[in-house]
Symmetry: C2
Subunit: 137 residues, 2 copies
Amino acid sequence: MTSTEPTQPESQPRPTRQRLAVAKALDSFEGFRSAQQIHALLTESGEQVGLATVYRSLQRMAEADEVDTLRTEEGEVTYRRCSDSHHHHLVCRSCGATVEIEGPTVERWTEKVSREHGFSDVSHTLEIFGTCATCAR
Amino acid sequence: MTSTEPTQPESQPRPTRQRLAVAKALDSFEGFRSAQQIHALLTESGEQVGLATVYRSLQRMAEADEVDTLRTEEGEVTYRRCSDSHHHHLVCRSCGATVEIEGPTVERWTEKVSREHGFSDVSHTLEIFGTCATCAR
DNA sequence: GTAAGTGCAAACGGTTTGCAGCCTC
DNA sequence: GAGGCTGCAAACCGTTTGCACTTAC
């Protein structure tokens, strides 16, 4: 398998009202939201979009690397627009408060370790869970 | 005064045939397996245990910190007995080959970062994905 | 004897899919 | 006008739960 093969012909999706609405919704918040939450946001703001369509749009965008996806502890897939820099999450087990973390340490380490094992084209996911200061006292 | 338990009394689970079978199954492999895989293992080896019972047993053991749990990309929860040392996985996207990785670097980094943000009692999950040497050529 | 544990099947919750009609190009 | 896109509802899949029965203590 050479690197001359991108992925698929993948034609541009059509800019329908629904698709634009989902894209706009993604711009309206930071961090990760589930498909259902995004669907709720749309409904609230008066945009009628079917849940299935929200899922399909998000999937498309994920495949096109336009959004990052993350699976929660509960099994829901969450999405965010991935223009911003790569980072990780520090999540409070008790109240759910989330801090975005970034640091070259882990990036370098994963890169080094993967290369040592002959892996290429690597990515990684890292989540840190704990009890935040507020919940601890 | 005998004792005032602040936490749950949490009685010991009864050592039933089914529970012992699940425990034994967990000892028969390394790494993570899903509840369904474990149920299949049991069935294969002639132990009849209901799927629901497998789930209930694993949940119990997870609560008692006897097993580690990990959610796969596909949304399945996987389990392993957690006697062995903490480590991470380097997984090939193409063929699924998995290398177990460990290193103090990340452990220390997550520890440090969490403390800086006032978090305590922290744990973390880290998965690295890439293309292995065999699949890359 | 009795309360915890089990099996079965139905319920659940998030996600995917088949299909008829709609809308871009 | 053709094929992608949408909405709806049904299907899916892993997991949980209600309930009557069994079993360890």
